[in-house]
Structures are given as structure tokens and as C-alpha cells.
């Protein structure tokens, strides 16, 4: 009897050891494969804006017009109902934490071009109760308009005012309907999506393609040889309200 129990315990112990060893081996192997897969070039989209090149031509709105047309952005008469994807903001309002009193007026006198910063740590994503907005693997802060319930938590969370709410049906307020892109409906929040529909076709965002001065440069932050990385290496760049820790991925060259 005693001998049997001893044999049983020995066998059980040995089996447990084998099982544990196999499990950890498998886990190790798994970790290795995921590490290899992760290293296989994940893109991180980002934008660099050169404010000195922007607005060379007074009153140029090429990027804004291109975006508004591409995405059926409505224009309401009531300024409180305004829907914005990309717009101009006075320098002091775009960069409230910068003391720009003695800075070159060539930089600060012109309005800055602002849009969704596609933050690396997006507060809008954290507060969305339906996961209608989320950060994609390539860094784009996406929106699923099917799922948005219009609670506007994301608008309260975004420190950049990059999100707009449709207080009324936008359809009748779209001047030139683009049939290839959906409109939104009343009660839905919308914002810039870095033109995910164009990225999938290998095209740059509509604003970048439309800029006559090439003042907006779009590219992959994870690629050290990309133009955005080259520009960020060679020139100092501001980020909007970087102190908030949202890690905005839109850079403004100084």
C-alpha cells in the first residue's frame, strides 16, 4: 500500500513537471513568433505641417476644400453647429502653452492648420462607451459611425476640439455630394480619420494631395528613412498641448 502511494506520487509529480515544461516551452515559442511578427514593419502614420510653407497664398483653403468634398462634410449656417475636420486656428489658440510674444511673426501671425492629432494616447478612445472610436494598429484614431450613439463624451475628452457633433441632419447641408463616401446622420460625432479609405488604396490623405505648397507631409514614423522622420530630425517641431500627455502625432515645424 505504502509502496503504491509512493509510486503514484512519483508518477504524478513527473507528469506535472512534463506538462508544465511543455506549456512554458510552447509559450516561449509563441512569444518568439509574435516578437518576429511584431518586428515585421508596423506602420505608424503621422503628419508634419510646415507652417512657413502653408498659406503662402493668402486665403488658401485647398486642403480644407478637398477634405470637405471628399468626406461630405456639411456646412451649417449656425456657427454652434459647425462641423470641422480640418480648419484654421489662430496660432495662440492652437498652441496655448507656447509663449509666442517674441517669436518670428511669420510663424505666429498666420493661423495654424489644425485637425485630429491621431494621438498615441487618445483620450477620446478611453471615454467612448461603445468603442465607436478606437486606435488602429497603424495609429489612426478611427471612428465607426455605425456604432456612435452621440453621447459626445469623446468631444468633452478631446483637448483639441477635433470632434464635431451633427445637431441636425447633415444631408441637406452638403454643397457638393461625393457619392463615393457616406454622409453622417443626425446625432453622430465625426472627425478626421487620416483618410483611411485613401490609405487603403495607397494614397496619401486628401489634404496632403491637395496642398499646392506641399506644406503637409504624411508618412510613417516607424521608418527612420521616411520624410517625416527626416524632417523631424533636421528641424524642431511643436506638438499641440504636448504637456497633456496625449502624445499627438501631428507635428508643426518651427
Amino acid at each position: 500500500m505504502g509502496e503504491d502511494r509512493r509510486r503514484f506520487l512519483k508518477l504524478a509529480g513527473l507528469t506535472a513537471l512534463c506538462a508544465a515544461g511543455k506549456g512554458s516551452l510552447a509559450r516561449l515559442a509563441g512569444a518568439e513568433t509574435t516578437a518576429a511578427g511584431g518586428a515585421a514593419k508596423q506602420v505608424r502614420w503621422a503628419m508634419v505641417v510646415d507652417p512657413r510653407k502653408c498659406l503662402e497664398k493668402e486665403g488658401c483653403t485647398a486642403c480644407i476644400d478637398a477634405c470637405n468634398h471628399a468626406h461630405n462634410v456639411p456646412s451649417f449656417d449656425n456657427p454652434k453647429h459647425e462641423v470641422k475636420w480640418i480648419w484654421k486656428e489662430p496660432f495662440a489658440d492652437a498652441f496655448p502653452d507656447q509663449d509666442a510674444r517674441y517669436v518670428d511673426p511669420a510663424l505666429t501671425a498666420k493661423p495654424a492648420l489644425v485637425f485630429c492629432n491621431h494621438c498615441d494616447n487618445p483620450p477620446c478612445v478611453r471615454v467612448c462607451p461603445t468603442q465607436a472610436t478606437w486606435k488602429r494598429g497603424d495609429g489612426v484614431v478611427m471612428m465607426d459611425w455605425h456604432r456612435c450613439i452621440g453621447c459626445r463624451y469623446c468631444m468633452a475628452a478631446c483637448p483639441y476640439g477635433s470632434r464635431s457633433f451633427n445637431w441636425e441632419d447633415p444631408r441637406p447641408h452638403i454643397k457638393d455630394l461625393n457619392p463615393d463616401f457616406p454622409t453622417r446622420t443626425k446625432g453622430v460625432v465625426e472627425k478626421c480619420t487620416f483618410c483611411d479609405e485613401r490609405l487603403d488604396k495607397g494614397q496619401p490623405p486628401a489634404c496632403v494631395a491637395a496642398c499646392p505648397e506641399k506644406a503637409m507631409i504624411f508618412g510613417d514614423l516607424n521608418d527612420p528613412d521616411s520624410e517625416v522622420r527626416r524632417l523631424l530630425r533636421s528641424r524642431f517641431a511643436l506638438r499641440r498641448r504636448a504637456s497633456l500627455g496625449t502624445q499627438p502625432e501631428v507635428f508643426y515645424l518651427v
Partner: protein, 126 residues
Amino acid sequence: MRDRGLILTGLTIFLALLLAPVWQAALRGSARKPEPKIVTKAKQCVEPTAEMRRNHMQLLNTWRDTVVRRDQRTYLAADGKTVTMSLSGTCMSCHPNKKEFCDACHNYLAVNPYCWECHIEPKEKS
């Protein structure tokens, strides 16, 4: 039971009205069926017709989530064909007659899919 005649007549009229669809179908030989008009010359939709009739709504929901949330735009059909998942791009290029195609059944069944509140339907002559 003085009102028996009145009650029975009333009940008969009520039942006749209630069962109107049943006896109308019986008289006509068959119930009125919606007939969505297919204008495309293609032999088959992305999946076999019977499958599409039954399950197009699930397919469209899957397409929606796959494109928007998983960033994949190509659908691999059961027969190995690949199509771009797009309601106004792919579906409506073969079925540009929304009124005669989509609405024919949706109105019959009194279902009201909200696709077209955002997606732009093809222009058609009304």
C-alpha cells in the same frame, strides 16, 4: 341570449376581416409575393442567389464590421472569387435600382434598414 344573432354576425365580420390575408390568398391561389427586379446580367451575386436572399443582411453586417473595424476591404466568396466589400460601390453597381430591388421586399416586410441615412443611393429615375 337575445342578442345571439347580432353577436354571431359581428363575430363573423370580425373574423372575416382578421383573416382577410388568408382567404384572399386562398381565392387568388397564392399569397402576394414581392418580386425584386434584378437588372444585372451577371449570373450570380457574390454568393448563390438563395444564400443572398436569406442572409444578405448578415453578410452586409459582416462586411461593415470587417471594413470599418478590421480594415480589410476584400471579401473572399465561397467559390474563390474576391470582391471589394462596399455597399454603394459593389452591391449597387449591379443593383442600381434600389426602389425596385431593395425596397420591393423591405416595404413588403415593413423592415426599415437605415443604410441610406448615410450611404448615398444611386441616382434613379423616379
